[in-house]
Amino acid sequence: MSERRRVTVRELPSYAFGPRDPMWWGVALLMCIEGTTIALLLLMYFYTRQRVDVWPTTAPARDSLYAGAATTAVLLASIVPTHLMNGAAYRGDLARIRRFMVLMTALSLAALGTRIWEFRALPFRWDTDAYGSVVWGLLTLQTTHLGLGVIENLMFVVLLYRGPVEKKHLVDVEVNGMYWYFVVGGWLPIAATIYGEALFR
């Protein structure tokens, strides 16, 4: 062996937030995939729309609008604890992380509840016509995202209280927060499309 250049990494940290973290990239790519799916399904909505004379064929009833507004409100509200939780994660403040994670989980469960209300309030079924299919499709897709988020949140609640909480879990908490932003962000265009259409018809 002769002369070697050496890159020493002994003192590097064992975790990092944001785009420095591979898991952040993984979830970002998942968001790309799911975001593309939402975008395509919305395109399907508008594609189908321009082929049908009367649209919506069965307008979502007033109840649907209330339910949709409730879901939107709950989801938007859940952004606040998520944001605060991320802040606590950067500082490594476990107590605050726990508190906000519980709050956020409660809100996500509430959103799941209003979502069930939404489904029940729809005055048409998925097999009524193409409009019904695409609206149910959009809602179901978002419910899948929502459900995945709820399961993750619940897992984190258990982990945070049961321990052992490792330092790298701070990053996982942050990435989970980012996914939750996506759940909320993905819902907004869907809500605007489904209910806005009925509202401003």
């Binding site: 070697r4 020493t8 790519l29 016509d129 459900g147 052992p164 330092k167």
Partner: protein, 640 residues
């Protein structure tokens, strides 16, 4: 950054290295025993399994093709019959596209990308294993259904309404749509894995502009997968819903549109061609550089061409739909885009020619396959320009001309480079050398057989022979050319058998290869053949595009703990060391999760109860997969 770059003299570090090797071997040890077989997450092992699986499916697809050729060998032939023939061509197409071409290219990526960028493994080894098992389950499911007469029979793109609930009764198309969903899930997971591996696990110093072209190709391909595959997953989901719960996405009678299926399918389907083709271009670049013994001419144009192809690839799906009666303006736009894609392809071809021209050629078998690729691909490209023109497309749509064209593009554009790549990387994969004489004989036979099989199809198509017919009348005059094609198919088979013989012989008694038999330029040739589970004893750091030609061994990373499965995370652009990350070890959960996915998807065909079942299984798997197990890493200070 806390890392320091220093040049210092090293004392005798032999014993130090031995201890390091011992500890690394211990930490990265492969699982043992029967159970260990199911837990393994090492990327070389998974990639090898994926390669073998893909080639098994290639062989099965080939057998189906031969059966079809036998059926068509002479007019009024009835030895397979319409029902089986429909299943054969559908399963053949689906196998080749979904179970062979995409997975095999990704397997090469999974195997080579970490090696090439100087990483110990991929970013998410468990996800990698999960992707493999999902793919395997999907593929096996397709073949079980074929052998039980439940094979899909509506063509590999399963146009509605033919594939819809009314005209495709039973479960055949459901099988198809679920198989596609399986393989897309696998492809998406692998693509995400490859992207993160490429962007975050590169050796220090390997900035983006120093990445090997093959890595670039896999990176671009993976991004295409991320944005293209959701379309087909959505499409097959909608098809499944239409068939199983009576939605109306594609039912024109109540507002749906069958053309929507074609839009969604080809929005994936056309990029799919490039998803198959771009990694092949990466392989060609690797081979051309190595056997020209010089840096590639036009690295930047090459990279830009890859990226441009990816973007353009999304803009021409409609040229598969010229016969559906679209607006004139749209036709013009997509014709222009289709012709434009010839530009980046042309740039790459000229760069290779320039590299070869100015290099010192070593005429090894891999290079022969590259020459074959160029010849065939040019023919395929020319017929592609022909069908990009609407009037010609309308004339030859759904004829054997299209069959000829797509096989020239796909076999010429992907299989020949792949075979070249296999010949090139075989020493790295196995530690053995392939026989050059057999290799060249294999090339000559496959090249001849391929052209004998598919060139006559151009003429058949121009004479009006439609695709997807199980027989034809003698009076059509299609007989002689079809017979020629069938003979050619057997010559092609002979060629592939020679390649297989070569592989088997090499595995049994091949010459020992050593780390770098070809005197190549990229990092994978700096490690043992086949690589150890931990791949690199010392992680490398690089200072140029051709590290092995530029003296890689002069720079190493130090300070990694060999007693943990540590990987070095670097910055996405300039690959500066950022942090050290501990990967989870082997686990049974990827397999269990894949089985849960499989059970859910397959049960879904038969009952909607699969949804709650899948939810329950999925939750269990998620918890099992991510639940932290000792030994724990540094704990957060304030614990309950």
């Amino acid at each position: 950054m806390t890392s320091t770059v220093a040049t210092e003299s090293t004392p005798d570090s032999r014993s130090e290295d031995a201890r390091l090797e011992r500890e690394l071997t211990d930490t990265w040890r492969l699982c043992r025993g029967f159970a260990g077989w199911f837990c393994e997450t090492n990327h070389t092992v998974i990639a090898r399994r994926m390669l073998v699986t893909a080639f098994v499916f290639f062989a099965l697809g080939g057998v189906e093709a031969l059966l079809m050729r036998l059926e068509l060998a002479r007019p009024d032939n009835h030895f397979i019959g319409p029902d089986r023939y429909d299943q054969l061509f559908t399963v053949h197409g689906s196998t080749m596209m979904f179970l062979f071409a995409v997975p095999v290219m990704q397997a090469m990526g999974i195997y080579l990308v970490p090696l090439m960028v100087g990483a110990r493994t991929v970013a998410f080894p468990r996800l990698n294993a999960y992707a493999y098992y999902t793919y395997l389950i999907g593929g096996v499911f397709l073949y079980v259904s074929l052998f039980t007469d439940t094979g899909p029979d509506t063509g590999w793109f399963s146009y509605v309404p033919l594939s819809g609930p009314q005209f495709s009764p039973g479960k055949r198309v459901d099988v198809w749509s679920q198989v596609v969903t399986f393989t897309e899930l696998s492809a998406l997971s692998t693509a995400a894995n490859l992207i993160v591996t490429t962007l975050k696990l590169r050796a220090p110093g390997m900035a983006l502009n120093r990445m090997p072209l093959f890595v670039w190709a896999e990176l671009v391909t993976s991004f295409m997968v991320i944005f293209a595959m959701p379309a087909v997953m959505l499409a097959t989901m909608c098809l499944a819903l239409d068939r199983l719960v009576g939605t109306h996405f594609f039912n024109s009678a109540v507002g749906g549109d069958p053309l929507l299926w074609q839009h969604l399918f080809w929005f994936f389907g056309h990029p799919e061609v490039y998803i198959i083709f771009l990694p092949a271009l990466g392989m060609v670049s690797s081979i051309v550089v190595t056997f020209s013994r010089r840096p590639v001419v036009g690295y930047l144009p090459m990279v830009l061409s890859l990226v441009a192809t990816a973007f353009l690839g999304f803009g021409l799906w409609v040229h598969h739909m010229f016969a559906t009666g679209l607006a004139e303006l749209g036709q013009g736009f997509f014709t222009a885009a289709s012709i434009m894609i010839a530009i980046p392809s042309g740039v790459q071809i000229f760069c290779w020619i320039a590299t070869l021209w100015s290099g010192r050629l070593v005429l090894a078998t891999p290079l022969w396959f590259v020459f074959g690729f160029v010849a065939i691909f040019v023919v395929g490209g020319l017929s592609g320009v022909m069908v990009a023109s609407v009037p010609i497309d309308l004339q030859v749509h759904d004829t054997f001309f299209v069959v000829a064209h797509l096989h020239y593009v796909l076999i010429g554009g992907a299989v020949f480079p792949l075979l070249g790549g296999i010949h090139y990387w075989f020493p790295k994969l196995t530690g053995r050398m392939l026989d050059e004489r057999l290799g060249k004989a294999g090339f000559v036979l496959t090249f001849t057989g391929f052209n004998l099989t598919f060139f006559p199809m151009h003429l058949l198509g121009l004479h009006g022979m439609p695709r997807r017919i199980y027989t034809y009348r003698a009076a059509t005059g299609f007989g002689p050319l079809n017979l020629l094609a069938t003979v050619g198919a057997f010559v092609l088979l002979a060629g592939l058998l020679v390649v297989l013989t070569n592989v088997v012989r090499a595995l049994l008694s091949g010459r020992d290869a050593g780390p770098d038999p070809w005197q190549s330029d990229t990092l994978e040739w700096s490690v043992a053949s086949p690589p150890a589970p931990y791949v690199y004893e010392h992680l490398p750091c690089v200072a140029g595009r051709y590290p092995l030609w530029e003296g890689i061994r002069d720079c190493v990373v130090e300070g990694m703990d060999p007693r943990q499965r540590q990987v070095l995370v670097t910055a996405a652009l300039d690959a500066a060391p950022d942090h050290v990350y501990v990967l989870p070890g082997p686990s049974i959960w990827p397999l269990l999760s894949a089985v849960a996915t499989g059970v859910t998807f397959i049960t879904m065909i038969f009952t909607p109860w699969a949804v709650p079942l899948g939810l329950a299984l999925g939750t269990v798997c998620l918890v099992g997969w991510f639940w932290p197990r000792p030994p724990h890493e540094p704990l957060l200070a304030e614990q309950p």
